[in-house]
Homo-oligomer: 196 residues x 2
DNA sequence: ACCTGAACACCGTTCAAGT
DNA sequence: ACCTGAACACCGTTCAAGT
């Protein structure tokens, strides 16, 4: 929130919590999850590793902050006239776009819980569309969470195999994952929104 | 495969690769993923950590072997008269049962690739049912993979929040995750198998 | 062949000390 | 208040040496 030192008097701060989170994300994007060490984050900020502990209680807190920062970066393109199925789809696309922008962070996002507030802020506009469509709130939440875990699981599969392998199956087309994603998402949305 | 020492002559082996994998799984189940260190696995087998390197090239190889061992443990209850939707469902239930039997290993299974052979052995009987139903093989694989990533993503969400938190929402019923899982799986299977 | 202790280059984190 | 170097208790892994 505040970029400037907060305490009255005392030595002015060289870094803020936001600086630490930003450096951590840059490090993960550039060099992968294993490169995210306290020493490396400190070095990137021109500061000793121990200084970070003045702003965050430890490495776990850095990971949690990274996850919440990335989730709040998700942009859901929700046209005013979007119905409930369209809202689910827009949410899935926005979430997936963020994940593919930060491939090395996907295992982290799959593993670390998201703050309730951050999750709510993201879900609320989507759930609004379900209310307009007369869907029960519990059913809407179930559908949205199901779509979320599908998106996460799919992204894990896509970014999973490290680049150092000869794994890309001989004839896998470039849009293999895009087509698979579209098929799975369509099936799930149809299943949730079609009235039987 | 072989439980006895293989080389001719030389000192008889105290442990085998299978012993290492079994000890690693027992350790993860009992104490969590962080407890899976080379030193701890060695200790559990009454052997120095360095001995493990005679049987597996390193820690990464242990993790890969754990994943493949757990996946081959999946039991799919596939009645002879099961149709394609039933086969998808049986696969999902069997996979999920394995994941919930090893909650601490779920992040590993979500993150490490599965050997092609292990995956094929598990998928083949299920895909046979799609052929009998006249489904194109590509579509069948897409559906099966989509179900798989949903199952994995859902399990991650279920086992994700560590036990040390006050996170369980006040009124979450005991079967919250079971109901959510059933709803998501039903939607996906319906979407994939209903002829439009 | 297989196992081992000592050693190396890392971690996260604590602590007492500096400004 | 904030930052720091030294130190501690861990890691995975290499190596030379034992049997």
């Amino acid at each position: 929130m505040s970029g400037a030192p907060r305490g009255r008097g005392g030595r002015p701060a060289l870094i803020t919590k936001d600086d630490v989170v930003a450096a951590a994300i840059a490090l993960v994007d550039a060099e992968g999850l294993d490169a995210l060490t306290m020493r490396a984050v400190g070095a990137r900020l021109g500061v000793a590793a121990m200084s970070l502990y003045r702003h965050l209680p430890g490495r776990d807190a850095v990971l949690a902050a990274v996850v919440n920062r990335l989730v709040s970066e998700v942009a859901v393109d929700l046209p005013a006239d979007a119905g409930w199925p369209d809202a689910l789809r827009a949410f899935a696309l926005g979430y997936r776009a963020m994940l593919l922008r930060h491939p090395h962070a996907v295992p982290l996002l799959a593993t670390q819980p998201v703050d309730v507030d951050t999750g709510m802020a993201l879900a609320a506009p989507v759930l609004d569309r379900s209310r307009a469509a007369g869907i029960g709130q519990d059913d809407a939440v179930t559908a949205l969470q199901s779509v979320t875990v599908f998106v996460l699981g799919h992204a894990l599969a896509q970014v999973g195999t490290p680049p150092g392998a000869e794994d890309p199956p001989p004839a896998a087309p470039a849009d293999y994952y895009d087509r698979w994603f579209a098929a799975g998402l369509n099936a799930m949305i149809e299943g949730f929104t079609r009235t039987p």
